[in-house]
Symmetry: none
Subunit: 139 residues, 4 copies
């Protein structure tokens, strides 16, 4: 019987690697972004709002990360009316906006990243670049 | 390396010019309005609720201004379900209602105006009149 | 007549310099911290929660920064019952906790830093180290 | 039997007179202020945040006005623990901060003004100047 479990978690050093790589990709594609990295429980680890990114994206980027951490899946993939129901039942903690990705290492969730201020496609490119940099560190 | 950036901001005197011109236009077209002027970060600078304007428009007018400031674009131009997702993920700070306009000077965002209580067309006429008065001061 | 005003603002690059120096100081004194950097209006620019920092400090650190930005003074210096009154009237945006410092450049507010998870003295040492690094860049 | 009652209310024109006189007094004493004028029900009629006023005072100034309108008395005069109880029971709508004054005409409440960003004494001087200007119009 296992009353305790062992979990891999992103460290703050790991979060900064994700943040810096995501920021570099956003600069490369010329889209200022809000970038949020959260832990497995959805609590904020690291954040950057780049010059020119939308002020309101500080909230949506974070909720994308929270949502991806919660489900260990990309945000924005649920059908209606399930998505709207979850938004309401979680008081807006869940979002069905695209731009949040879980950070998976060897099949285990270790945190998540949410990006907002660009199009969904731009947000996802930036989020993926952050994850790729982390995985490259572990390779 | 630029650790600081220089930004043009609407002053409270500028905000009052926008407010007064918008109010005059609303009187001219005979539509009482709630008129909100915010700074670049979406914080309230100046506000007027004209006699007969809807009480609830004090909130919607302000959120229109906040939304226009955040994106440096008119509010109300996003498609669904993106718009509804942003409303939820920002806890209602974002609105997809029409009637908010960014205040741009020489291509720079300096604040925003949101107008509510009329139709979207009436709201936009009033908002634009406020901006025009500011630009006339600078000409 | 000044309808516009020119303001110095912290850039995201500047915010990262503050964040990194504050983090380095926290490591040096062996106290994991939550560190939040906000702009002049109190909107989040950069954030890091170091390994071992208190989860709840993600909120208190941020509100310390918001409070210091609003008043251009260190947080935590008001007497009661004024402080408690402001906490309530601002719905918790204001905090009277120590650990928030305004970031002043040539006498102008350009943003603020808030640090939480240590003692007030530890929080302030870390916050000041962040500011010192920014000022060194500008010297 | 009176199933209806007749009430004097501040008009938006009256609110602007109060706002402008209060702003002029704040300039005269050299203290930038947030100034909020509300109707008898505590809904915002007019607002100005002067350059240099604290961002967070946009909320406290408004709640001072709301509180003064509700009780037809200056805000900040209740003893503890009654004041704290009202703050909690009204979810922060009531504030016991000083700086809110009811606007009384011939003994009737017609609205209220709340001022914040200075000391309580400065806030009250500015609020009273706004009311005096309105009463002078009616003399």
């Amino acid at each position: 019987m296992a009353v305790l479990q062992n979990r891999l978690e992103l460290s703050s050093e790991g979060a900064l690697i994700v943040l810096q790589a995501a920021t570099a990709k956003a600069q490369e594609i010329g889209v200022p972004q809000c970038i949020a990295i959260v832990d497995r429980g959805g609590h904020l680890l690291a954040f950057l709002r780049m010059d020119g990114a939308k002020v309101l994206s500080q909230w949506s980027a974070t909720q994308k990360a929270v949502t991806a951490a919660s489900s260990a899946k990309p945000s924005g993939e649920l059908a209606e009316p399930l998505a709207a129901g979850l938004v309401a039942a979680t008081q807006g903690r869940f979002t069905n906006l695209r731009g949040g990705l879980p950070i998976m290492v060897s099949g285990c969730l270790v945190g998540a990243i949410g990006v907002g201020s660009g199009t969904a496609e731009q947000d996802l490119i930036v989020a993926q670049a952050g994850i790729d940099a982390l995985l490259a560190c572990l390779a």
